[in-house]
């Protein structure tokens, strides 16, 4: 009992959809009247599981519903799940940014949450002033910051600009400084939300390293990410969120596997839609087909996969770039990228289709996620946010492919999935080709 750092009991969180302001006074009065009579809140009874793809009948939804789990001290918990599965809401409730509708959370130790880097940075203040301010917002005392100031500055690598207002910083420098402050918090429990998705590769590595250090020191870490590689590398326990409920809580490998295989639609159709106002080209729907033109999410070794994205754009977009990439549990695997090959349409407008076929999929039986995004003619401005657009599963039996190792079955799920023909040679004997 005593080594539990966080105990989450029956946490639910309800949100109201649509315009918040309409009808709030009458709802408030209703609620107040029920309370006065000692009755239960009438609006807590309505509501349904949160599934953003289906249109609900009520405008009240449960972003979280009866979530229960315990995190042990020193455990690194990876929280994974599709967009809108309730990961961020859970983190918000845990970091006390918003309150749960029902249930309670018991915590042992100081919590620091990093839902964003650079919270409270003031553009007019210098780097030095912002280190203090940001540190204090994150819960450090002034003397604590002073003590770690040199370390923070060193980690950020922006010593030269420490007395320059941060509004003159490049976005990279800004993020470095912000993360440096956050990385030097010393809470017993650290909550991190995909802050690693920013900065250049070298800096990301540094951040991941820092996270590893933190968990190595026996502190409890809760980490939300879409990067299965990072999650697997860092975490020992996994929480798979599905429509606001706990889909699975257990060891990280099973959670990742479940995340990758949890298909809501086996027929290879994915409904998407606009994500954010700034999107110029909207990915509406994705259809996956095999080489016979059959819609499916399941593929055999050596099959082709054709990815058709139905798009729409209100305005004419000239020479847009698109990319479609396949990610495995270890991270990005391969991609079709027009930023590299230079192949792009002259213009797009209205409803149109982007289709790309990956031929001869030589992938082990695992699950894969498809990501896609777009950029404008310049190549620097976004037209469609990079996002998950679908997933597929390789289903061939190992012995059918020709992988006959005794332990193949147990190692295949976590093995590097991409196969490239190779040959072995031992002690100058004849070389043995592996050609699947």
């Amino acid at each position: 009992m005593s080594n539990i750092a966080i105990s989450v009991e029956n946490i639910s969180k309800q949100y109201r959809l649509g315009e918040v302001s309409t009808g709030t006074i009458s709802h408030d009065l209703n609620r107040w009247w029920a309370k006065l009579r000692g009755k239960e809140d009438p609006f807590l009874r309505v509501g349904e599981a949160n599934d953003r793809t289906k249109k609900g009948t009520s405008d009240l939804v449960w972003a979280l519903k009866d979530v229960n789990f315990d995190v042990k001290q020193g455990e690194v918990l990876g929280i994974i799940g599709r967009n809108g599965a309730g990961k961020s809401t859970l983190l918000k409730v845990l970091s006390k940014v918003t309150q749960p509708t029902t249930g309670n959370i018991k915590v042992r130790g100081r919590i620091a949450s990093l839902l964003e880097v650079g919270t409270g940075f003031h553009p007019e203040l210098t780097g030095r002033e912002n280190i203090y301010l940001n540190g204090a917002i994150l819960g450090m005392t002034k003397s604590e910051i002073s003590r770690k100031f040199d370390e923070i500055l060193d980690f950020s690598g922006v010593e030269r600009y420490v007395d320059t207002p941060v509004k003159r910083y490049s976005s990279g420098m800004y993020v470095r400084l912000a993360f440096a402050v956050a990385a030097h918090l010393e809470p017993e429990i650290l909550i991190v939300d995909e802050v690693l998705a920013v900065g250049d590769a070298e800096f990301q590595k540094k951040c991941l390293g820092k996270m590893k250090d933190v968990s190595g020191e026996g502190r409890t870490v809760l980490f939300v990410s879409h990067n299965m590689g990072a999650v697997r590398g860092l975490c020992n326990t996994g929480l798979f969120m599905d429509n606001g409920t706990v889909g699975m809580f257990g060891d990280i490998q099973s959670a990742v596997d479940l995340y990758l295989t949890a298909n809501t639609n086996a027929d290879g159709i994915f409904q998407l839609g606009r994500q954010g106002k700034e999107e110029i080209v909207v990915f509406e729907k994705v259809i996956l087909r095999n080489q016979f033109g059959i819609q499916t999410q399941n593929y055999n070794f050596g099959d082709s996969i054709s990815i058709e994205i139905e798009c729409s754009s209100d305005q004419e977009v000239e020479l847009p770039y698109f990319w479609i990439s396949i990610e495995s549990q270890f991270g990005s695997l391969c991609a079709a990228n027009s930023l590299l090959d230079g192949i792009r349409p002259k213009f797009v407008r209205g409803k149109f289709i982007i289709a790309c076929t990956f031929k001869n999929l030589k992938l082990l039986p695992q699950s894969f996620i498809i990501f896609a995004g777009g950029r404008l003619k310049s190549g620097t401005e976004m037209s469609t946010r990079s996002k998950e657009i679908g997933s597929f599963t390789m289903v061939s039996k190992l012995n059918e492919i020709g992988l006959n190792g005794e332990l193949a079955e147990s190692f295949a799920p976590s093995a590097s999935p991409l196969y490239i023909p190779y040959s072995w040679r031992f002690n100058n004997e004849e070389s043995i080709d592996v050609n699947l």
Binding site: R16, V97, T98, N104, S113, T119, A136
Partner: protein, 289 residues
Amino acid sequence: MSIKTLDNISETHWTEVITPTNAVFDLKLRDVWKYRDLLFLLVRRDFVSIYKQTILGPIWFFLQPLFTTLTFVIVFGQIAHISTDGMPQVLFYMTGVTLWNYFSDCLNKTSTVFRDNASIFGKVYFPRLVMPLSIVISNLIKFGIQFLLLIGFWVYYLITTDTIHPNIYILLIPLIVLLMAAQGLGWGMIISSMTTKYRDLVFLLTFGIQLLMYATPVIYPLSSISGDYRVFIEYNPLTPLLEIFRYALLGSGAFSWTLLVYSMVSSLIVVALGAIVFTKVEKSFMDTV
């Protein structure tokens, strides 16, 4: 039995329990104290950032009340000929403006605290009460600077003329300022809590503050008001504060202990109510703002 005691022991080890609602009077003042460094850094931020990239810098602190006073002297003094109880017009308006500005700045900034800081509040937890407190303190510094300007003029008139008669009640000025801050903070917290749901109040506020200024003896002395309206102005808890402030410095105006106590009690109630409403709203406002 043994299981139960074991449970009890582990219950006591939790450093924190997050629940849907808090007790009404749980203001988490201990948390606020823990975050006192943040409070002072926020005050510093407000102070430093306002006048960055301006040529005159903090001199603007002086110019604001100076220009307002000048306008009042011309409009209300010279054109409208509103009585100043025989006091020099400059000094009369400046006392009013300086104290009133402190109140209205506190009220204005506090009432939008949730909206202004939504991006921070949405990402990090710290006792939200720190924010309005930092506003009151940074405005206090501004008030202090403007008060120095007022004292400058006051000394000039004290030496060169025989129109003003300061008295012992000058010692009450810190209390008056504190009560003014309490009123601004209290009302600001109440309004800010309500604006998270009903934005309409934002539009009413500018108008409301303007109206309240005319219902407070800022540009006229209480003695010049008679008839039906006087009752309204006397019941305004800000009235005694302005009157006493002026009476202490200039020797004209109304002073009574009853009115002062009335102001103190109402300030206390407003601040307490404000803090309660504010802490109640801070837990859920992220879902509505």
